[in-house]
Amino acid sequence: VVRVLVIEDEPEMAALLARGLQAAGYDVDAAQNGIDAMGLALAEGYDLAVVDVMLPGMSGFELCRRLRESTPATSILLLTARDAVDDRVRGLDAGADDYLTKPFSTVELQARIRAQLRRARMGPVPGGDAPLVAGDVTIDLARRSVARHGEAVHLTPTEWGLLRALVMHAGRTLTHHQLFDAVWGRHHGDAQQYLRVYVANLRRKLEADSLRPALIVTEPGVGYRLELPEPAGADPR
């Protein structure tokens, strides 16, 4: 059974989250602050933690960072309420796997949780694994090859670096900052300002319609995500 830890200090919200997740068949524990949450997480080893960003004492960001360090196998879903995109970027940079902005619907919450669990089950994408097939695109990290409709697609080194980073974290939004680091390393110079241009070029080579991208999705103000192929009928999102 899948075990979920909910960290939320508002009782109504906490009860609601717990009820919804139990109804979906998860085993749910709840904590009201970061300290309690860390204790539970270390003792129990959850599959997933749902973290509210506004917590008394230790902030949601700090909790994300500590959870990521001490229990790396636990997926983290951050609940943000502020309208600033900064919170989402901060959350992802702190180690959250995904975020939901209040007010979200129950359907949305459960869909995001399913997506995270599916991603966690797939595990990290190791070099020797089978190629990733997404729609009509096949990406083979081990062979450094990309094909669309079975035909090889030529990518520049930067485009390949971008695609590789996105595939390695498929299903997870990578912030602009994480992408800079993955492609250009710590000492990225002028090139990074063209990140969005490289993404546009990559889309033109891989997407059926670059104005309606299905593979590389934009999270406005946050970053980009490689959409995992949906198992048929599993996700109503």
Partner: protein
């Protein structure tokens, strides 16, 4: 040096001259003219060194007479028989006077150098004080105090330019306190204070007697006036910095308040929405609750954005963005609400990338707002056209529909706050801020938003954002 002390020195040296003459008289037979000249010269030099040029010259002339009277034959007359003796006498006089003169000049120069050094020291100390004391007002007070004591004037004050007459530096009251009995000053001297060709204030000196400054004092005053100007400028800058800091503090507070309000409203909205979802199976009215929650949520977002725009506090994250990225994200946003209407998206040209320098999130908000409006007002059977192209220095995004359009004369009113298009049913209304926010966000990032009637009926909204050039050097082929 007092008059009496001066007189004493004179008498002392004249006595020394007399003593030397008396001593030499005792052994006159064995003395050569050169011996006498040397001894007298020593006395002349000593006197010059001790009391200056006047005593030196006096001693030289006296010694010249004594020399002639007592030591050159015929003795006890001022007559000279040997022409060579004239040579000795004249040579002695010229040497004595010249020596006194030279000594005086050397001493005077030393004295001037010492005074200059003192002045420089004082100015340096003042300068350091001007630039380093806690409050600029204290530095100004120090400067006025130094001017007052150095130049010996009764009053000295700094007046700030463009300030009401009572807004003066503390220096004035400082001066008044120290000289409470000062007679009403009738003579004044005004020195303008300049910083980089700008007059920042005036230095005002006042005294009962006329203020006459020698070149040295004038130079000193000018230097101090320069420091006073710097002090005034510093006072102004620090006051400005304090004001700016207070404004920033207010902005931070406002932002924190907005964020907190946003959180406090949205958390219960999430709960309400989830509860409505829970009972949706039993009660179809739950759907209305969910829709209303969504409307309320937009309302909160609109109010937050509007208040930020009004305060000029919209955070901007300007970056190089591709037009098609923006279009893609906008289409994804309105995907769920098209209700059968189609949106045709086009890029012109379609081969080269269109890029601009703008804030992606704000630009997205504008385009989504325009698309939502078009979806709201356009007839179901006519597609909405979304296009991007390059127009001079701008990226041009157009959203065109076949809706009713905007009545002539109303084109600008639709961008006003709390404006609804006539005929909008009350339950379809938002906060009436959508287009006002859209235009505000466009202008905040150096763009424009305007309405044009569409040929053949309908509306066209034109959003222009700053375009960017792709330098080939920065990109791989």
């Amino acid at each position: 040096v007092s008059r009496a002390a001066r007189a004493r020195v004179w008498v002392l040296w004249l006595l020394a001259l007399a003593g030397a003459a008396a001593t030499m008289m005792a052994v006159r037979a064995r003395l050569d003219e050169a011996h006498v000249a040397l001894v007298f010269l020593l006395v002349v030099l000593g006197g010059s060194a001790a009391a200056g040029r006047a005593l030196g010259v006096t001693l030289a002339v006296t010694a010249f007479l004594v020399f002639n009277f007592l030591f050159l034959p015929p003795f006890h007359t001022l007559a000279v028989t040997d022409p060579l003796d004239w040579l000795v006498l004249v040579a002695f006089l010229v040497t004595g006077v010249t020596a006194a003169q030279l000594l005086y000049r050397a001493q005077a120069e030393t004295e001037t150098a010492r005074r200059r050094a003192e002045e420089v020291d004082r100015l340096a100390a003042l300068g350091a004080e001007t630039l380093s004391v806690g409050r600029a007002e204290e530095a100004l007070a120090a400067i006025t105090r130094v001017i007052r004591t150095t130049l010996g004037v009764a009053e000295c004050e700094v007046r700030l330019a463009d300030a009401p007459s009572d807004a003066r530096s503390d220096a004035r009251s400082d001066v008044r306190l120290e000289t409470p009995d000062a007679a009403p000053a009738s003579h004044t001297l005004l020195v303008p204070l300049h910083v980089r060709d700008r007059t920042v204030g005036t230095l005002r000196l006042a005294d009962p007697s006329p203020i006459a400054l020698d070149p040295r004092q004038r130079r000193f005053l000018d230097a101090l006036a320069h420091y006073a100007a710097l002090g005034v400028e510093r006072a102004r800058l620090s006051a400005e910095a304090e004001r700016a800091e207070a404004l920033r503090e207010a902005d931070r507070f406002k932002d924190a308040l907005l964020a907190s309000v946003s959180h406090d409203i949205r958390t219960p909205l999430t709960t309400i929405r989830a509860l409505a979802h829970d009972i949706a199976a039993e009660d179809p009215r739950a759907l209305v609750i969910e829709e209303e929650v969504e409307r309320l949520n937009r309302f909160v977002a609109d109010l937050l954005d509007m208040s930020r725009l009004t305060a000029g506090a919209v955070p901007l994250a300007i970056a190089i963005n591709a037009a098609e990225d923006l279009i893609g994200a906008a289409l994804q946003r309105v995907d769920g609400m098209s209700r059968g209407r189609t949106i045709r998206a086009a890029l012109q040209p379609s081969d080269a990338l269109l890029v601009g320098r703008f804030d992606f999130v704000h630009a997205l908000r504008i385009v989504v707002n325009l698309l939502e409006n078009a979806l709201k007002y356009a007839p179901p059977d006519a597609p909405i056209d979304l296009a991007a192209s390059r127009d001079g220095d701008a990226l041009l995004f157009t959203v065109a529909d076949r809706g009713p359009g905007i009545a002539a004369g109303q084109e600008e009113r639709i961008f006003e706050r709390f404006h609804w298009q006539p005929g909008t049913p009350p339950d379809a209304r938002g906060a009436g801020l959508g287009l006002a926010i859209a235009r505000g966000l466009a202008e905040a990032q150096g763009g424009t938003l305007r309405y044009l009637p569409r040929a053949g009926g309908g509306s066209v909204f034109e959003l222009r954002l700053p375009a960017a050039e792709l330098s080939a050097a920065g990109l791989e082929s």
